[in-house]
């Protein structure tokens, strides 16, 4: 399945136009000041433009967006540092509903997701290794942490073991009985939550006709990793542009910083990193069509390289800006913090690097 190129470029254009007007760096300040950690108004606009239906099948009025289409959105998310749960709800959680949900669940959830009435968050990570969350007789027990947008979500998708000890995804009312939410701010201003479940009513996402939840989750995590590559590309290329302009304008010792060869060469190195991020993002997107083992190898390789490369660009952007680079006032520090979060989600650099290396040395 590939999304056609016109659809993708229309999507990209409309997102760029809207965010240029409504989500520039100054307007984003107001979003940062909101206690919710995102803009409810922007979220409604995304719904009206159809962007929240990106992951829905065409027969549900969606765009059936593949990794490239998702990347077009995520690149803008990275360029504009959008705060809304596009990755968590519109891509990741919606994707799980599309792949795992029973026909009844899809009929109930998908329209609400596309219209922006429903926000979902996936709760997967736990403090201890393994899946200690379990469901018995429709009741969920255990704890999750670091759930991106976990406080904004109306409902949660929670991974847990069923009575046969198989991994499943459960639908839980986030505001209902038996859920304790501890919400907090991330370094980039978005919000996350730790969750505890005490015999919380939980409905399995899917039915007898659904594919294996473990397989679907593995694919979904790779898909999210690829989306993060595109976000990193958007943020890193902005940082490069901003820093490049700054070097031309800022004068020291009576001449622009740009006239120093040591800085020219460092900028050339950043350009190389940026081009590698671009290329590997595309490679990872194409890898989503490969069989699981090869897909995982390529996606993790791209992710490991990109985490490192993008953070390198962020570090250098601060250094070349000098003191102003670490201030709240300048965009640079905001990109820096977004890339910090980006590199920590869905397995950090070391996890992906290990997966890439072990898989590469095995397959050779």
């Amino acid at each position: 399945m590939t999304t056609d190129i016109e659809t993708i470029s229309m999507l990209r254009d409309s997102l760029e136009r809207y965010t240029a007007e409504q989500y520039d760096f100054l307007k984003r300040w107001r979003v940062l000041e909101q206690p919710a950690g995102y803009s409810a108004a922007a979220w409604q606009n995304y719904a009206e433009f159809g962007w929240l239906a990106l992951r829905l099948p065409e027969e549900e009025g969606g765009l059936d967006g593949d990794a490239v289409a998702q990347g077009a959105v995520m690149e803008v998310v990275g360029r504009r540092l959008l705060m809304e749960p596009l990755l968590a709800s519109a891509l990741l959680a919606t994707g799980l509903v599309v792949k795992l949900g029973s026909p009844g669940q899809q009929a109930e959830l998908l329209p609400a997701l596309a219209e922006g009435r429903l926000k979902l968050a996936l709760a997967h990570e736990e403090q201890l290794d393994g899946q200690s969350c379990w469901v018995e007789a429709g009741q969920l027990t255990g704890a999750k942490q670091g759930v991106l947008h976990g406080d904004a979500a109306n409902r949660l998708l929670v991974t847990a073991r069923d009575e046969r000890s198989e991994l499943q995804v459960y639908l839980v009312d986030a505001t209902g009985e038996g859920v304790e939410r501890q919400a907090y701010r991330l370094v980039d201003g978005r919000r996350a939550a730790n969750l505890r479940f005490f015999g919380t009513p939980a409905e399995r996402l899917g039915d007898e006709g659904s594919p294996s939840a473990a397989d679907v989750l593995a694919t979904a995590f790779d898909e999210a990793s690829v989306a993060l590559c595109a976000e990193a590309f958007g943020a890193a290329s902005c940082l490069l542009e901003i820093t490049n302009e700054y070097l031309k304008v800022r004068k020291q010792f009576g001449k622009p910083l740009a006239s120093n060869q040591v800085l020219q060469h460092r900028m050339a190195d950043l350009y190389m990193l940026k081009e590698e991020i671009r290329a590997l993002t595309r490679t990872a997107q194409q890898a989503m069509l490969l069989p699981a083992a090869e897909r995982g190898r390529v996606v993790s390789g791209a992710r490991a390289y990109i985490c490192h490369a993008a953070r390198n660009i962020a570090n250098e952007a601060i250094q070349m800006h000098g003191g102003i680079g670490v201030t709240e006032e300048l965009e640079v520090s905001h990109y820096f913090r977004r890339l910090m979060v980006n590199a920590a989600l869905f397995g950090g650099r070391d996890w992906h690097f290990t997966r890439f290396v072990e898989s590469t040395l095995k397959s050779a």
Partner: protein, 397 residues
């Protein structure tokens, strides 16, 4: 990217792979497997073998005996040959001067020189660098003074690869001194047998004779051997350097040494454990693999963007810098992993079928490659020049 183009490139890759596996003459394959020193006859055999396949000038237009390859096919061809450890394609005729002649040369020059280049009947060398003009090529001082229907050339060229075998030298000379140093440079074709041409070897640390000084003393060159216009040589030189930087071979070379390193790590036990299972080595190989993936993907997509015309002008520099850095570092790691065998170097084994004093039969060749590839980040535009290009041409700094 056009699917037909991509399919054509893939078919070419498979043909080249088949050729490397089954059609390479055993003696040549053996030498190239050991990274041994090849002599002129080996190269003649190799280049003519490629010509018989129609590949040696595959990137030329059909009108001059080529196949009109796209940049992608050219890239795939060079990449695949290098992956199999094939001999170098000596580029001075087929890649450098040939395209200059068919693009800017006279009809007479095309008729006279192109067939000999395609068939490798004449060897060429490149007269660019001088003692005072390396990266700053426009600073060259070799003089050509018009005397009737000849030029009289005086000066010195350096780093001239395989000048000892060359029949012809394409040479940048100064015919004027007005204005910018780039003005007044001309492009001359010089017969190496002309009186006044002296070739002196430069010995490199691999113990081999690749490069030379070429001294030119009152060498008389027919004016008919001037390519294009007098004083326009810088334009042709830049055109040539652009061709020089399309090297797809660097990806294949990096792959080749990385495969060799993995093979060694899987077969070598040290301190009671296979190298591949030792955490530091495993991490090192893993980092190389990751960088190789980045190099390969960047290179492919860059070449595709060149075909589509969407490139930003920095891609060739990027591939060269990243490719040569990786190639050097992997070769260095490989030599280190050889342990005691990595410092034993008997150059005699490079020329004969004899075994090196320690290690496998290719160990001497690996060392030779390690020594020689230290120059990979220097020649063809040093890494620093490549960064200058990116900073100026792409970033506008």
């Amino acid at each position: 990217m056009n699917k037909t183009l991509r399919d054509r490139a893939q078919r070419l890759r498979e043909e080249v792979r088949e050729f490397c596996r089954h059609e390479m003459p055993a003696a040549l394959r053996d030498k190239s497997h050991r990274h041994q020193v090849l002599d002129k006859d080996d190269y003649l055999q190799w280049m003519r073998l490629l010509d018989a396949k129609g590949w040696v000038v595959g990137h030329w237009p059909q009108a001059y005996g080529g196949r009109d390859w796209s940049s992608l096919e050219r890239f795939v061809f060079e990449d695949e040959l290098a992956r199999h450890g094939c001999p170098w394609i000596i580029p001075f005729g087929v890649k450098y001067v040939g395209p200059v002649i068919y693009t800017f040369g006279s009809e007479e020059q095309k008729r006279r020189f192109l067939p000999g280049i395609v068939k490798t009947e004449e060897f060429w060398a490149q007269g660019y660098s001088e003692p005072g003009a390396g990266s700053d090529l426009a600073g060259l001082r070799t003089q050509a003074v018009r005397d009737g229907d000849h030029y009289v050339v005086n000066g010195q060229k350096v780093w001239t690869t395989y000048a000892q075998w060359a029949d012809w030298l394409f040479c940048l000379v100064r015919t004027g001194n007005d204005g910018k140093p780039q003005n007044g440079i001309s492009f001359l074709l010089i017969d190496m047998r002309s009186p006044g041409v002296t070739v002196k070897p430069i010995h490199t640390m691999d113990g081999y004779h690749h490069v030379n000084e070429v001294w030119l003393e009152n060498v008389r060159v027919p004016a008919a051997n001037l390519v294009g216009e007098e004083g326009a040589g810088w334009t042709y030189a830049k055109f040539l350097l652009k061709n020089e930087r399309t090297a797809g071979a660097i990806v294949g070379l990096a792959w080749h040494v990385l495969e060799r390193l993995k093979k060694l790590a899987r077969e070598t036990t040290r301190d009671g454990q296979l190298l591949i299972d030792q955490p530091l080595m495993r991490n090192r190989i893993g980092e190389f693999e990751l960088r190789f993936m980045a190099l390969q993907e960047v290179a492919y997509q860059a070449v595709e963007s060149m075909v589509e015309g969407t490139d930003n002008g920095g891609e060739a520099s990027l591939i060269k810098v990243r490719g040569t850095e990786l190639y050097q570092e992997v070769a260095e790691a490989l030599v280190e992993a050889l342990g005691a065998a990595g410092i034993a170097y008997d150059t005699a084994a490079l020329h004969s079928a004899g075994l090196p004093p320690l290690g496998d039969d290719d160990v001497g060749g690996i060392l030779k490659e390690h020594f020689y590839n230290r120059a990979a980040t220097v020649f063809g535009g040093s890494s620093e020049i490549q960064r200058n290009i990116v900073a100026k041409a792409v970033l506008g700094l």
